[in-house]
Symmetry: C2
Subunit: 153 residues, 2 copies
C-alpha cells in the first residue's frame, strides 16, 4: 500500500490536512499546558503519567510507554522528575526484577485527583467549538489515520 502515484491534487489536499492537524494539536496542547503548569507545576508529560496511574493503577514503565506513546528513555526522565518531586514511587518487582513498577504516592494521588476535573473541563470547553457530532467525526477520522500508521512511510 501507498506507493502508487496520486498526483499533485492529492498532495495538496493531504498537505493541507496535515498542517491543519498539526496546528490544531499544537494549539490544543498549548492551551492546556499553561493551566497545568500554573495549578500543579506539572508538564503535560508528567500530567499524563499521573493521570494514567490514577485511572489505570500502578504500572511498569514499559506499559506507560505504550499508553503515552513515549520512548523508554524519555519516560525514565519524566519519572525521575516526578520521583524527585515525591509524586510517584518506583519499585522493582520481586517476581521479575527487570521490571520497575511505578505507583502514585499520596501526594501524587491527591494532586492529580484535584487537577484532573479542571483539565477535563478545559478540554470540554475547547472542544465546544465543535458540535457533538463534529467531535465524534474528528475522533473517528483521527482514529483511522492514527491506527493506519504502523510501519515506516
Amino acid at each position: 500500500m501507498g506507493t502508487k502515484y496520486r498526483g499533485p491534487a492529492a498532495e495538496t489536499r493531504a498537505l493541507n490536512a496535515f498542517i491543519k492537524l498539526m496546528r490544531a494539536a499544537n494549539s490544543v496542547s498549548g492551551a492546556l499546558a499553561r493551566p497545568v503548569a500554573d495549578e500543579g507545576g506539572l508538564t503535560m508529560s508528567q500530567f499524563g503519567v499521573l493521570e494514567a496511574l490514577l485511572h489505570l493503577g500502578p504500572m511498569s514503565q514499559g506499559q506507560l510507554c505504550g499508553k503515552l506513546l513515549l520512548s523508554g528513555s524519555n519516560l525514565t526522565t519524566v519519572i525521575d522528575n516526578l520521583e524527585k518531586h515525591g509524586l510517584v514511587r518506583r519499585e522493582r518487582l520481586s517476581s521479575d526484577r527487570r521490571v520497575v513498577e511505578v505507583s502514585l504516592t499520596d501526594k501524587g494521588r491527591s494532586l492529580i485527583a484535584r487537577m484532573f476535573p479542571n483539565h477535563a473541563r478545559r478540554i470540554t470547553n475547547l472542544f465546544a467549538a465543535l458540535t457533538p457530532k463534529q467531535q465524534d467525526q474528528l475522533a473517528a477520522l483521527c482514529r483511522t489515520l492514527g491506527t493506519s500508521i504502523t510501519e515506516p512511510v
Copy 2:
C-alpha cells in the same frame, strides 16, 4: 463563552476526541520525523524552518515564529543549529537593526529542495488512509478547532 455546565456525556466525548487528535498528530509526526532525520539529518523543527524559507523567502525570526507556532527562544536555538550546519544565514537588517533576517544558504536550499518532494509524498501516503473527502473534513474540523483557540481556557 465556554463556562456553562455541559455534563459528563459532553466531557466523555470531548476527552475522546482530544486523545484521538493527540495520538493521530503524534503518530503522523513520528512517522515523518524518522525519514527526515535519515535523509538529511534534520529535526522536524529544522525542516519546518527550511521549508518556510524555501516557499516564502527570507524572513525575520519573528515572522518564522508566527508561521511555525514556536516561541522566540526556541526559534533562536533551532536557527543556531541550522546556522552551525551551514544551512541558513543570519543578517541584521540595516533598516531596523533589531530584526534578524534569516535566509537559506546554497547548501540549505539544495538540501530542502531535494528533501521536500519526498516529504510531501510521505504525507500523501499517510493520509491516503482517508478518502479525499475525509481529508477535507478533517482539515475543516481541525481548522475550526484550532482557530477557536486564542485565549487561555
